[in-house]
Amino acid sequence: MKRYALFLGCTVPVRAQHYELATRNVAKELGIEFVDLKEGSCCGFPLKALDAETSLLMAARNVGLASNLGLDVVTLCNSCTAMLSDAQVKLKESEFRKKFTELGFTYPNEIKVRHFVRVLYEDIGVEDIKKAIRKPLNNLRIISHYGCHYLRPSYLHTFDSVENPHTLDELTGLTGATVIDYQEKKLCCGGSVLGVDEELAVKMANQKLSIAKNNNADVLISICPFCTVMYEDNQRKVEAKFNTTYNIPVLYYPQLLGLSLGLPPDACGLKFNRIKPDNIISKL
């Protein structure tokens, strides 16, 4: 049994409960135990543009909570991953550490911060996941979306290749589905400019959705709640803006993996997806 501290952040526990549910059920199947960071707060990322130090102190507090448990952190959101990793580096600087301590926070043990998908790749491993697949999804064509902060900046993550990433495609391939290879894997979803200029954000989301459609994808795989907000929650808006129809379901990777592990659709939270994944369920 491998144990980790689970950090949920703001969006997942309220707006992406299907992601959380599928993650917990997949973890159980693969022998992963989560200890919830019940006192966890916002990772700090939304405040980074306003004041870097405030955001880093918020992030560092969360890292400190896991450190007090002596456990590595698992995150579900790409931006939480980058923000908490940033804080971890910052905790090595004495001036920052002083303020952190002044606030009554502690960081007794150095710990790792990694996205759940990275933990699946590194700690469980491709071979063991492959052995656990009970229901290969042979009839599906899948396009995977990495999102920005899963890999970048590379000075924080040191994982996979930023220009030509492969880990998520490899993991997606384990489910038995056909993985669509395409050039624009590193495209940004536009989520972080949604609050600043909606039209710009919608245009960015359109890029990958049109690539998905041109490649006849049955489903787009996301590993970040912000990317899902753009590709799933705003898909109708994108369709209206560009006068087209996509109707492409967007699943979180643990939802897809869960199905291939033989979990029922309900245990993977499929009924909570906004673009109904009927095409997937009928092909199971």
């Binding site: 969006t11 959380e20 919830d36 405040l47 306003l50 989520g191 710009l200 960015m204």
Partner: protein, 160 residues
């Protein structure tokens, strides 16, 4: 020309994230790699760097384009000089906030986070829904965000 502030680049270089700004030799790979630039010509990383180095402080800080950076880090990964332009943009945004240029949406986020510690408050309704799904209940995350904001002084911008 009287609007120019030749010391602006030093100010940016002192702000966390802005340290490497003066290393730029204007190759333009940041602009070529930028997904925002591809869609919207108002945003141009190379041009922003030149404006900073030339001391066009007011024209940079008051312009909406500084909030267009999506923090994707595509430019940062490719910059041959290690300028880390995403971090430079963050430094610029932080300076803009201190100088009073801040979009209203961001001010609201400070208020929400100060109050709840998370962007979405988790109430009984959410926790009951979570329980019905078999997910653990979530505790309130209160108190400490205000302490952090008082220490860094960011809470002052909402009081303006």
């Amino acid at each position: 020309m009287s609007e120019l502030d030749p010391k602006f680049k030093y100010r940016v270089a002192r702000e966390p994230g802005g340290e490497k700004i003066k290393l730029c030799f204007a190759c333009g790979i940041c602009t070529a790699s930028c997904p925002i630039r591809e869609i919207d010509e108002r945003y141009n990383p190379r041009k922003i760097i030149r404006m900073i180095l030339l001391g066009m402080k007011k024209r940079v800080l008051e312009n909406d384009f500084i909030w267009f950076c999506s923090s994707c880090y595509a430019c940062t990964e490719r910059c041959p000089q290690g300028v880390r332009f995403t971090d430079v943009m963050n430094a610029i945004k932080n300076i803009a906030v201190k100088e009073g240029y801040v979009p209203w949406a961001f001010v609201q986020q400070i208020e929400i986070l100060k109050k709840h510690g998370r962007l979405y408050e988790i109430d009984e309704f959410d926790n009951n829904k979570r329980s019905a799904l078999g997910l653990p209940r979530i505790a309130k995350a209160k108190g400490f965000t205000q302490k952090i904001m008082e220490l860094t002084g960011i809470d002052k911008i909402t009081k303006r």
